[in-house]
Structures are given as C-alpha cells and as structure tokens.
Symmetry: C2
Subunit: 335 residues, 2 copies
Amino acid sequence: MSGIKDVAREAGVSIATVSRALRGLPRVSDETRERVLAAAARMEYVASPHAASLKSGQTRTVGVVVPNVTRWFFGSVIHGAEELLRQEGYDVLLYDITGDPEARHRLFSTHLLSKRVDAVMVLAVRPTPEEVASLVRVGSPTVVVGGYVPEWPSVRIDDVLASRTAVRHLIELGHERIAHIGGTPDPEHAGLQLPTPHDRLEGYRQTMAEAGLAIEPGWEAYGDFTARGGLTACQQLLDAPTRPTAIFAASDEMAIGAVHALRKAGLRVPEDISVVGIDDHELSEFFDLTTVAQPAHDLGHRGARILLDALAGHTPTGLVLPTRLVARGSSAGAP
Amino acid sequence: MSGIKDVAREAGVSIATVSRALRGLPRVSDETRERVLAAAARMEYVASPHAASLKSGQTRTVGVVVPNVTRWFFGSVIHGAEELLRQEGYDVLLYDITGDPEARHRLFSTHLLSKRVDAVMVLAVRPTPEEVASLVRVGSPTVVVGGYVPEWPSVRIDDVLASRTAVRHLIELGHERIAHIGGTPDPEHAGLQLPTPHDRLEGYRQTMAEAGLAIEPGWEAYGDFTARGGLTACQQLLDAPTRPTAIFAASDEMAIGAVHALRKAGLRVPEDISVVGIDDHELSEFFDLTTVAQPAHDLGHRGARILLDALAGHTPTGLVLPTRLVARGSSAGAP
DNA sequence: TTGAAAGCGGTACCAT
DNA sequence: ATGGTACCGCTTTCAA
C-alpha cells in the first residue's frame, strides 16, 4: 500500500505539496495539483487516517453510544445519523453497551472515547454526573438523542406531550378506565437513565387527573420497553381489581406485546380493550396499532447535524421535534 | 490529557518502561509495574490508539459493512458481533451503505477500509470481483455473515434448506397451492447481492417440484425484504389466476406485510390462507407467525469469533448454523 | 508556490 | 530490568 512519499516521488514534488494538493488547500498551482491527483489516483493512495489524526488532533470519527442496536428506535436513529455523518466524511464508531454499567463507566470515565472520536452521540444512556463531567472536561461535543441530560444539547420529542396525546385520544373515544405500561419501574428514582420513562408516566398521570379520571390500583405496570415485557405487564394489568378498557403503553413494542397478551386472554382489540403506543415502529402499521409517532430517523439526522455544527465551532442548541397521533385499528370507543 | 511522557515522569521511569508496563509485557519488575500502573491510574492516562496504530500497524478496530441497521436481522447480527469484539478489546466501525452502490464502491475499492480496520465483517452486501480482489490483496481478514462470497469464509444458514423446511411444513399441512414472496426480483442475475434470495427461491421451487406440486403463473412475487414490500407482493399474489392457499415469504418482515394484506382483503389467517416466513424476527411471536428461525445474534457472534481467530493467525473456516421450524398460528391445514 | 523539518504519541529494537 | 531512540505516516510551521 503506497504512502504519501510514494505519491510525492511519483509526482515529482515534496510530501508537503502532496498533502496540500490532496486536501484541496490553497497555494498549490493547478498544474501541480493535477499531477499529484493523477499520481495518487494511479497508485490508489489513501492517506492514513491514524497518521493524520495523530498530527491534526482530529479523528473524523464520531462515537455513538447506544444500549441496544436491536431496538427499532435506536437502529433508526443510528441510521439517520450515520447517513449524514458519512456524507460529511465522518466515520461512526458504535458502542453498544447493553445493560453493562461497568462497560458504560469504562467508556465514559476513561479518556478512551475522547481519544478516539471528535464528538459523541448518546442514546438513552444516562451517564453519572462524574462521567458527564469527565466528557465535558475533555471538550468533545456531545449530543443526547431521545432523552435529556442537562449538560448537553439534546434532540428529542416532548415525552410528556406524546403521552398526553395518546391518553387524550383514548379519553376522546370515551374511555375512562385507562391503564399504563411504562418503560421502567420506579422511573423517578432510577439514576442511570434518561427522563423518558418518567415523562411518559407523568403525561399519563397528568392527563388522567385533568380529566377527573382515577388511576385505580394495579393500573400501572412496567414492560422494560420490550414486547415480552409488554406482554407480562399486560397480564398483570388484567389482574387489577378493576379491569381497564384501554391501555396506553410507553412504546410500540410494549403495546404489541400487550395486544398479544389480550388476544391470548381471549379479549378482542379494540372491541374489548383499546391499545395505544408511542413510536410508530415500522411494523406498527402492519399490526394496525394506534400510536403517537416520533421521527426516529430524523432525530438521528438532527443529532448528527448538531454535532457537525459544534465541530465547526457553532454553539449547539437542543431541539424538540413534533410527534403526531396515528390512529389505527387498535383503538376504538369504550365498550 | 496526559501522555505517556507525563506518566513516565510521574513514575520516575522511561517512556519505554511505561509502555511495557501498561501493556503487560514481560521484563518489567513487579515493583516498577505497580508504580507505573498507579501513576497512570492517578493521571487517568489512556494511550492514544492512533499513535499506537501508527507504529504497530494494528488498529484494534473491525469494520462492519451493512446495508441497513434498521433491519432486525442486521441489527441482531451486529449486536452479537459487537458484544464479543468489545470484550476482546476491539472497536466496531459501522458502515451503513444503504442502497448506495457508489458508497459501497468507494468503501471497498479505496484502501480506506483497510487503513482503518484490522478486519471486516460484511453483511448481505456483495462486492464486485474487483472490490473483493482489492480487499483480498490488502490481506484484511474478512468474513461474510448471512450470505456467501466464495473468496471469504462465511457464517450463515443453509438457505435452501430453510426454504424447504418452510414449504414442507405447508405441504404436510395439506397445502398444494403454495405461492412465494421472494426478496428480490430476478435473483439469479442480480450481481451485487448475496445468493440468499436466490437460494430461498430455489428451495421453494425444489420442494414444490419434488412434491409434484405445480407453481402456477403469478405465484412468485417480490417484496424487497420489507413489510411494505411483502404487502404489495401479497396483493399481486391474490390476483393470480389460481388463488394459493398458502404463502411462503423469504423473510418474516415480508410475511408480516403479507398477513396484513390478507386481512385487509378480508381473508382470515390461517383459516383461508396460511403464511410462513423465515427469520423468527423478535416480533414474530407476537404476530403469531409461523417461521423458520435463524440464529441472527449467534451468526454475528460466530462471525466475530472467526475474525478474531484469523487475526490471531488461524486459518478461518466458514460455518453453517442450523435453523428450526417454529410452528405458530399463521399456518394451519389447507381450507 | 514549494520544500525542509519538527513534531503528533506511541512502539519496538538495541544498548546497557 | 531499564533506557535511548529511530521510526510509523502524516500535518504544519517556517524558509526559500
């Protein structure tokens, strides 16, 4: 594999000139530039990113920290971010730290991350204050997508509002007994996660209260944002003293699990029980699931944009993207 | 951020000793090593991966080339691979080259990839012979997951067999009019993709022929491996002169789209038409979809293992993982 | 406009 | 067991 020296020799110039010519810097005569470009092309020369990074201090790489690429929302965000980043010449380093707090800590607290990337995108992972401080100190631009961490700009939806939209939809359909499947138990005190589950629960409670509707015992269950969790949670809900006529799940995957649990219990959706989720997962349409859509792909794209701008010296500002109700067949009037 | 020199000064040794001590190399006294370790920890020192790469020629990074992280199968494979790679101290560079042949070409043909990573995992992307040659020439260990490229070891399932399992299941249920939704049209001549769609089509045709069953005109449609594509394809299938009593889709996502199309057309699944897919997508269970399961996560894990072994000097060998029929509610006896 | 040379921060060889 | 030092392949002054 040829290096810059080979190109220099081939083009009959110094390596400094090759470097300038190849990067499109000024102070290179057109004729020289052309000769260098030709030589580089002929030799299939590509500059070593490591050598360049070492000297310039830039890695042209951004790190994406995510709890689980398998989940639709995260995959979509990454996809949206990757697209723009690659287009701008940045590589994406993927850090999937599924449920391993130690791995998370190693990542955030050591300077590993900062030595390898120019900027960081954090998805649904909540670093401890010390970890945040460590990253902030290093100065790498960081953006949070789909959540909120005070020290960093974030691209997200209004989770409380999304919940309100979902619950209000059910109320407008005439439901009064509405239960909730949240993401995590006790979201108020969970230190290592973003406010998302808490906000969605909050939106549910607020809307119920404002409508003068009571939340009966056993109407709040938790599904860990997975379909299987949603299924289990839904089964618990059915055991509540008062059976709800509608279920609002904090994610589509949990909603899908809930629908399945209902069918297995011999209940019809939406005739007996309505179900609404949040996300508009790509398969939700095929499930005929009513949901509050959030623009996952776009969240990733905007997050990447913010990082790119920050890298260009701009001061980054957060962003709240709109959601919208997508009424489908899983919700109908109260029985 | 402190460098190796700072640590050396702090520990009162030379940088060479620091390097050795930190990497656990021999010829460092226990006492010295301890002092160096302590100093490094105190200063939160982390070696610059770029500097190390520059000298050692190793990047401790593997590149994963994938057409679309959003798709369940790819996400799962990446997840499986990432887990093992990170554990072994490798970073994962993600190249999502969704439907951009030019991006693919740039990636494979320039030495960009080879200068940035020690090894490459390719998912469902088929490089041209020249692109393959380029990577082979550079000598980076490469593995193909979920497909097959002659020059490289691959980790995959037996796609023909998976199809046969699905179709035989339908035949055993008494179906004789079985249609197929394939991944891509004209899979025999598509140069830039893996044999997967072709093999699955082949398995369908073989099994039908062996059972003495005819494939009527209009019984082969294509859904691009997406739910929406499956929906459209299924609608075409319903327009065939002879209506099938069962549909075998080459992926669960297409099968899910097909089920939705059937329901929209007023048909019941499985009473009127049975549907079977391939994958065992994480949501298939909640769809009550019969399918032939493939171990996506494990495919990724094994692929990573092969890469790691190759990096350690072993000669890599491909691997074919087993699939199994998961009979659920979307398939039943012929009406 | 071009070239020479000093690093960037480590690794690895050769002395000691 | 330790230290000195020549690189790795580029970028970036500084001179010419």
